[in-house]
Amino acid sequence: MKYNLPDENGFFGEYGGSFIPEELQKIMNEINVEYNKARKDPEFQKELAYLYQHYVGRPSPLFHAQNLSKKYGAEIYLKREDLNHTGAHKINHCLGEVLLAKRLGKKKVIAETGAGQHGVALATAAALLGLECDIYMGEVDIAKEQPNVIRMKILGTTVVPVKSGQRTLKEAVDECFDAYVKDPVTQLYAIGSVVGPHPFPQMVRDFQSVVGTEVKSQFKTQTGQALPQNLVACVGGGSNAMGLFYPFIDDTSVNMYGVEPAGRGTAVGDHASTITYGKPGIIHGFKCYLLQDENGAPSSVYSVASGLDYPGVGPEHSNLKDIGRVNYFNITDKEAIDAFFELSRIEGIIPAIESSHAVAYAIKLAKQKPGESIVVNLSGRGDKDIDFVIDNYGKQYGIHR
């Protein structure tokens, strides 16, 4: 049977849906109606395709990483989302969301950001398409991701520091929700991943699926084989992973691996391995695997990658886990940082720390599956991370300021 989710109420199996106050529900319904019109509107698709090609620089290359392949024994391909304008996959859904915001007559887009990649991408799309933009960001992340904060400000966006709780991604979402409830009429909450109430998980996935669709044809052209054997992507909320996986879901010969952050240990608060350790719960308007305590309070989370430390995960991933279509594993901070340097030094590509988690897992997989093809979604570039990496790990790799 062909995969056809979500259902009309936004459920992927038992996950997803729309668990929000009455006030927001009405707005979500309007967004859903308009999105479904836009999806089928050739003009909308044409405009998006034009921007993908001439503004973002799509298609992004699929690069056969021969040095890495030779060293670890499998055929590793990198989907170079790091080469997109703004340096990550996030621009793919931001352009879609901002075009939709314009169709809906909104004046402003607002969003949370963790690593700052979604914030920069949204600020960029808003600048291009003439909308105002407010980005909510935890103070901890602001300190860690200064270059992206500055970029957003240069682009004319207001960066709102979030001071509550752990001062990272979850609190940024909380505060952005609050701002949205105050004025859902002139603003659109352009959610940064395949999370949130229906239709966001579907919409962001659809916008990101350009990644997997390109991989399909690029892989065939380059190798003459119909399909890759393995796909690997890191999972924070899960947008880059859904973008790569979605066009392959019905191709059952393709193994898919989602990589979560194992952080610095297995204790609560030391990781953000939501699917690995979480239980079903409801957060930020949708049902998903959730790291939570016995009272239902979301747990504190940690990862070296600011873009991955979220206690929930996309509802579609939650379902793909339950139906066994995607395998989920996790990678520690240390493994990710090792991979960060490995890819930099043998392929000349500095990956985002988020994407380094996927690279680290691909290296493990290569050793288990010699000779097989592995496509890794290199979701972003590491420029934003260099100061943080050098300050915290430089010495171990022989680098001094």
């Binding site: 109420n9 849906g17 729309s18 668990f19 929000i20 106050p21 009455e22 006030e23 529900q25 009405k26 707005i27 509550s164 709780g165 979850k170 909380d174 929700f177 609050d178 409830v181 105050k182 004025d183 859902p184 239980k279 079903p280 719960g281 409801i282 957060i283 930020h284 308007g285 049902k287 959730l290 939570q292 016995e294 009272n295 239902g296 309070a297 979301p298």
Partner: protein, 260 residues
């Protein structure tokens, strides 16, 4: 008979302007929240919302949000919440309503949560992020247990939606006076008048009007307009400003009476 329905009927028959108060369970601690609640009840509240704190209360503003954080940081458990409800429902005549968010109920198990609420003497439930048509069985289980779910109408609802919500809501229709989260003062102006009128014209149940009510001046204007007024952040603010050695119950009783 369910206490909420009983109090509602009495108030409507007497043509009263009834009060719905609000406390955060476990804020600033379990004992104080019980005393404060008793004060609000003896001050004349016909209904009291006891909010089980959740870390991400997405219908609430800063006052309630911060109180929720404090309660959680002090180690609030859902069992504490039920303990508070049990104590209040057995020692006051006020109808106790549990207000909380979806994940608290979901994690506990929707059916178990409702049963436990009933066993502790709660009259009704309010869960803003469990929507009418996808409420995980909340309304079904509540009805089964001689309780109900109070639904919320917010500005932006049209007449038909107001009618649907009111038909399914338990006893009364919780009506939010204006857009946004709880806490800010509501100006009772032409726009709110128009909204209240729309709700009155379409609701099949009495209206409980809330958000931002904090003075007698406001409730005076609402007398005869709506049968129930809700004061939430007002009471939470009073509780957060209590000084050491103050008699919690009598301070809150005063605060409750000051609204009328």
């Amino acid at each position: 008979m369910n206490t909420l329905l009983k109090n509602l009927e009495a108030g409507i028959n007497n043509n009263d302007c009834m009060l719905m108060g609000h406390v955060i369970a476990g804020f600033p601690d379990v004992k104080t929240s019980i005393e404060a609640a008793k004060g609000i009840c003896s001050g004349g509240a016909s209904f009291l919302e006891v909010q089980f704190p959740f870390s991400d209360p997405n219908a609430d503003g800063p006052v309630i949000e911060n109180a929720c954080y404090t309660s959680i940081e002090n180690g609030f458990t859902v069992e504490d919440g039920f303990k508070i409800v049990r104590e209040l429902s057995s020692s006051t005549k006020t109808a106790i309503i549990i207000m909380t968010y979806a994940n608290i109920v979901f994690k506990y198990g929707v059916q178990s949560f409702v049963k436990k609420a009933k066993e502790c003497g709660a009259s009704a439930l309010i869960v803003p992020d469990l929507p009418l048509d996808h409420d995980e069985g909340l309304m079904h289980y509540a009805t089964e247990n001689d309780m109900g779910v109070i639904l919320i109408a917010t500005p932006g609802c049209d007449g038909k939606r107001i009618k649907d919500l009111s038909e399914k809501s338990f006893g009364m229709l919780y009506t939010v006076a204006r857009r946004g989260t709880t806490g800010n003062k509501t100006e009772l102006n032409a726009e709110t008048d128009e909204w209240i009128q729309l709700v009155k014209n379409n609701s099949t149940k009495p209206i409980a009007l809330g958000f931002g009510i904090q003075s007698k001046e406001q409730t005076d204007k609402l007398k005869g307009v709506v049968p129930i007024v809700i004061a939430g952040s007002y009471f939470v603010t009073v509780i957060s400003k209590l000084k050491q050695n103050e008699n919690v119950q009598s301070e809150l009783e005063k605060a409750s009476k000051a609204l009328f």
